[in-house]
């Protein structure tokens, strides 16, 4: 298969990505591909570069691409700005989003919707995310961990991106909320449709793997010291990691 064709079949194609943050190289030649309709997960210890990878795909300026390419929907987006990527169909769920005083949750959802008179739709989406009472509050101001997740997913559901980047969606979420968050993610990923009709993809960072009970991921990676050192079936990988720790993955790399 020539590379041109591969680009067209993949929603996201990352080639030999080298990324620095504050002049320190964090990612060393990372490559991965996500086909249309597929969700992939990333495991790995803290400081391994997982969040850096997500932030780089989204295009935050602090994450400097030294070499390599990010191809999204067949377009080279490596030097595109954050907002251009968002409009092209990439969306990210923030782990610790900033408080923006005076900007209401409703304003954020409306901005994501990108259309006028979206009041009814906003109300409907907020209802699904159990966020109705938060619409007129300053965004993220005094929100609990679970409320931040629901707020982020509410905004993403309005934005409706083709590629959803999720950084530890289950962290800080109590048991009561986790199934709601799981179902919100599933609807973002279009998992309500049969596989062949799905076009939305996801890239999910998880430590605990809890989220795997709610989403259907086919490919998993382990990131370690800025490299992808292992690729496989997510649940198998999770079991190995749980049993033997990331050290086993490092061994796997040495083979």
């Amino acid at each position: 298969m020539d590379s041109e064709k591969a680009d067209k079949e993949m929603l996201l194609d990352i080639k030999d990505l080298v990324v620095s943050v504050d002049n320190k190289e964090i990612l060393h030649k990372v490559s991965l591909s996500i086909p249309y309709g597929e969700t992939q997960v990333i495991f790995g210890p803290n400081g391994g570069g997982k969040t850096t990878l997500l932030m780089t795909i989204m295009g935050f300026p602090r994450y400097q691409v030294a070499s390599g390419k990010i191809i999204f929907k067949g377009k080279d987006v490596t030097v595109m700005s954050v907002d251009e990527r968002a409009r092209l169909g990439i969306g990210i769920m923030f782990q610790r989003p900033p408080v923006v005083r005076g900007v209401k949750t409703r304003d954020m959802v409306a901005a994501c919707l990108k259309k006028d008179n979206g009041e009814e739709l906003i109300a409907e989406l907020a209802g699904k995310a159990n966020m109705t009472d938060f619409l007129s509050r300053d965004i993220n101001h005094g929100f609990s961990g679970g409320e931040i997740k629901r707020s982020e997913l509410l905004q993403l559901s309005a934005q409706s991106p083709n590629l959803v980047l999720l950084d530890e969606p289950e962290s800080g979420v109590d048991l009561e909320n986790i199934s709601l968050i799981g179902s919100l993610i599933n609807s973002l990923l279009g998992k309500v449709h049969p596989i062949r009709e799905r076009t939305n993809s996801g890239l999910v960072i998880t430590h605990t793997g809890h989220i795997l009970n709610y989403i259907n991921a086919r490919t998993g990676y382990v990131m370690f010291e800025g490299k992808i050192i292992c690729e496989g079936e997510p649940l198998d990988m999770l079991n190995t990691i749980k049993e033997k720790g990331y050290r086993e993955c490092v061994k796997c790399l040495r083979k």
Binding site: G102, A111, Q159
Partner: protein, 410 residues
Amino acid sequence: MPEKINSSNLEKARAAVNKRAALGADIDLNNYNSPAHEKPVNTDPSELSAKDKEKMLATGVILDDPSQRMGTFIQIDNTPVHYSAKQDGVEVMAVSQAKEKYDWFGDYWWKAVSVDADKYTAHVELNESNGYFIRTLPGAKTTFPIQACLYLNKVGAIQDVHNIIIAEEGSELHIITGCTTSLHNEPGLHIGVSEFYIKKGAKVTFTMIHNWEPAVGVRPRTGVIIEDNGLLLNNYVAMKPVGSLQLNPSAYCNGENATARFNSVLVAPSGSSMDVGSKVFLNGKGSKTEIIARTITTGGEIISRGYMEGNASDVKGHLECRGLILGDSGSIHAIPELKGNLAGIDLSHEAAVGKIAEEEVEYLMSRGLDRDEATSTIVRGFLNVDIEGLPPLLNDELQKAIKDSEEDMF
């Protein structure tokens, strides 16, 4: 008013004719003319020129369809040209008329502001200035606000104004004051003395919108006396260019559980100089205050002051000055001050001056807004002061005034 009080005020004023103000650039009053202080006339305000009405409308003063207003007062330069009240228990007239009507008037004349505070207050006294007298009788509640417009019209003129606002016991009074001018690049000076008397259990909301011009000087002098359980909610918006603006109203929470809240929204374009503060003296047991200032410079100079002083037990105050510097020039000087004179008081402040946090801009950009859209959304949020206790109608109008002004900002 007894002759003795009158002459003592005049004496004090004469002695203060050259007294420089404590704050703000010194303005030479000899550089201005003083238009005649004529007797009040009552004309139909809808007969004013379309241009003047448009200017007034931009400050919240609606003259063509005043169905949403319970009373109106208009003063052009030094002459009241209209006064009317549409509700029982509400009085709107010129102060010169109130002075003749009520023998107790002297009890409210230069009692909340000192006649010899500086040369501006002295000038107002010595020129027998007019202004509005707005009073709610005990228990009366205005459903819609009363509107007042002070309009500076003559090139090179000093407009002298002296207003008296009295909310009798248990009454509720909402006022919108718009101060503006027909001038463009010509000089002019507005001096406005306002004295507020908020009696036991009375509530006053006072929303003032200032739309001036680049060569106009503005020196308001305001004092507010609040009795037991009285409330002042003061909102001030100045977002248009102004030559030199300096005001620092003082509220005296003399009664038990008296409350004073000041919200200010200031935007200083290039060439504007604004020195705006609020002072609150918590003299009554359990009295409370909150001072919130949101300031933006797009090139002008802003001094944002706040002063609160605790002189009684169980008083509480919080002061918040936040400033945004947009663009490459301009300055914001936040001066929050707290003074406690006994134990058992609770005063605090927070102040922040800086640019928009890049993290916030990127957050909004990640949702698809471009940099300009993200910035203006954050600035709109910054200016969106949630004002507790403001009637919805007034709040809508305040938000509208801020929104209209924002359109000029970007």
